[in-house]
């Protein structure tokens, strides 16, 4: 079912919903998954993002997102200056990826404490995005829902732990996907929920054995 405010909306800074608004959202997703403003960002642009990114302000929009701006922030065109103020170092380059959506960016982010995040995401139209790869594991989620990204050991029982906890907390799962890099290796659980996941539930989930890392993305408010 189409959200009517995707038809009439989003309210955004121009010029292109996919090249600008979507790019801000990709940056913002990277920031959330990293857990704050990165110290360093190496950004690789593919396809139309590389071809027409400068003219559409795609580069400025990605940095704006990394700094926590929303797609309607009038400061997006000045994001490079804000990045300098906030101590975010960044580089852009162009890359050709196989089988990637034309509007794809790869973000290699480093946080102040040194931990890193590698994320590949594409802008699929109308300002909507899809994350396609996280730290080398293929995933698929859009940020249109509240999203739990759980890195766990590929072992039995972890999924049941998580889903039971959510069910008890009266959080309904809208979509769920599982991926892993190898049998018995690292797995990623992506759980999209209708309701917001309360902080106490997030804390509880983090403490399960076998849950290596948990990140929570709360969808943009209306």
């Amino acid at each position: 079912m189409i959200d009517i405010f995707d038809i009439l909306g989003p309210v955004m800074v121009g010029p292109s919903s996919s090249h600008t608004a979507g790019a801000v959202r990709i940056g913002a997703m990277g920031r959330t998954l990293l857990g704050g403003t990165p110290k360093k960002a190496r950004i690789h642009l593919h396809g139309s993002f590389a071809e027409t990114g400068v003219g559409h302000g795609t580069d400025k929009a990605l940095i704006a997102g990394l700094l926590g701006m929303k797609p309607d922030d009038l400061e997006i065109p000045n994001s490079f200056a804000h990045a300098e103020e906030q101590g975010l170092e960044f580089t852009f380059d162009e890359v050709t990826l196989k089988n990637a959506h034309p509007n794809t960016a790869v973000l290699e982010l480093t946080a102040a404490d040194g931990h890193t995040l590698n994320m590949q995401a594409c802008s699929i139209g109308g300002g909507q995005i899809r994350v396609t790869m996280l730290d080398g594991v293929a995933v698929s989620f859009t940020g249109a829902y509240n999203t739990l990204i759980i890195h766990n050991k590929d072992d039995r029982g972890h999924i049941a732990d998580v889903t039971t906890t959510l069910s008890r907390a009266r959080v309904n799962i809208a979509n769920m996907s599982l991926s892993r890099n190898a049998r018995g290796g690292n797995a990623i659980m992506i759980i999209e929920t209708d309701e917001k996941v309360p902080p106490v539930v997030l804390q509880f989930l983090k403490e399960f054995a076998g849950i290596i890392h948990l990140t929570y993305y709360e969808k943009e408010d209306d």
Binding site: I2, F5, G14, D59, P77, E94, K98, Q120, G127, A138
Partner: protein, 317 residues
């Protein structure tokens, strides 16, 4: 109900004895699990964002490429000093369409309606009419719900994306939404709204998306003007009792069909039409020089391995 057929929305509206806007409002409440007030409030914010954007226009600004800017103001100066051919209302509509398109190209805040490239069409007809006729804000919100019905049906049955269906899908959809809103605001019936939508889409059928240098600038800004003027024509015809001989859903399906069969060169790729004229190519060359601030690297240079399954069926807008 799914908003996937104008005919069904119309029948539903007649059966339930409810206006189209109210059906869309109820649909939004159910879909997003929000109250009536919350839905109306979001629509009000959307409307005010449109008005704020229109009012914040400045003719001084230029786009990143330098191709776009100042035409909205040029148009206003012209009709203030001269009797314009179509009269001052249509001149203001044209100026408003140019101004909003320029706001978008200059990285100012706009409302995608339904897309950023076509964001000038709806406000260009709605804001001048609202001001000229002192229409209550709540009625403008109702008209916006009507436009959401139209846009949703087009997005479901055809497309509202230039990359998927050409400009007929973007400016065409915006024009149809605007035509429906105008017809509603002037007391048109549900049937008349459907005819206005059908007529407006038919008039723009086949319009290609051929942006110079791939930017939302040339010819996009001026195409917003034709979308707005076409909406006025379609609404006036429908209100006069002129009917579309082809039913509205069939027209939308035809637009989808034409879009799918448009060569890829005419679907936002900047490989055809105005984009490949000698002047269009020159502009692109110039932009490529700016691009130099990015370094080119190969996959090997990247620190982590990339294998990229793109999931099928991405909803394109």
């Amino acid at each position: 109900m799914d908003l996937d057929s104008m005919q069904r929305i119309l029948e539903h509206s007649l059966e339930k004895n409810k206006p189209i806007w109210e059906i869309v409002l109820e649909e939004d409440m159910e879909n997003r699990m929000v109250t009536r007030e919350a839905s109306m409030e979001k629509m009000r914010r959307t409307w005010r964002a449109m008005v704020d954007s229109a009012d914040s226009y400045s003719g001084e600004r230029r786009s990143l490429s330098g191709l776009v800017g100042g035409d909205g103001e040029r148009m206003r100066l012209y009709y203030a000093a001269h009797e314009s051919i179509g009269g001052s209302f249509t001149a203001e509509v044209m100026a408003s369409a140019l101004a909003m398109g320029e706001n978008n190209a200059c990285m100012k805040r706009i409302v995608a309606a339904p897309t950023a490239g076509s964001c000038g069409v709806m406000p260009a007809v709605l804001i001048p009419l609202w001001r000229k006729e002192s229409i209550p804000e709540d009625m403008m919100l109702q008209a916006l719900y009507v436009t959401c019905a139209i846009g949703s049906v087009i997005a479901t049955r055809a497309s509202i994306s230039g990359a998927a269906g050409g400009c007929q899908a973007e400016v065409g959809a915006a024009s149809a939404m605007a035509a429906g809103a105008l017809t509603y605001l002037h007391g048109g019936t549900g049937e008349q709204i459907c005819h206005a939508v059908a007529i407006s889409i038919k008039n723009l059928l086949g319009l290609v998306c051929d942006p110079v240098a791939g930017l939302v600038e040339v010819p996009c800004v001026k195409r917003n003007v034709i979308g707005a003027m076409n909406a006025i024509a379609a609404a006036d015809m429908a209100l006069a009792g002129v009917e579309s001989r082809i039913p509205v859903d069939e027209v939308i399906d035809a637009m989808g069909d034409v879009g799918r069969r448009l060569p890829v060169e005419f679907r936002e790729t900047a490989l055809g039409g105005l984009a490949v004229t000698p002047t269009g190519r020159e502009v692109k060359e110039r932009m490529m020089k700016n691009r130099k601030r990015h370094r080119t690297l190969t996959i090997k240079d990247m620190r982590w391995k990339v294998a990229v399954p793109t999931p099928p069926g991405d909803p394109a807008k």
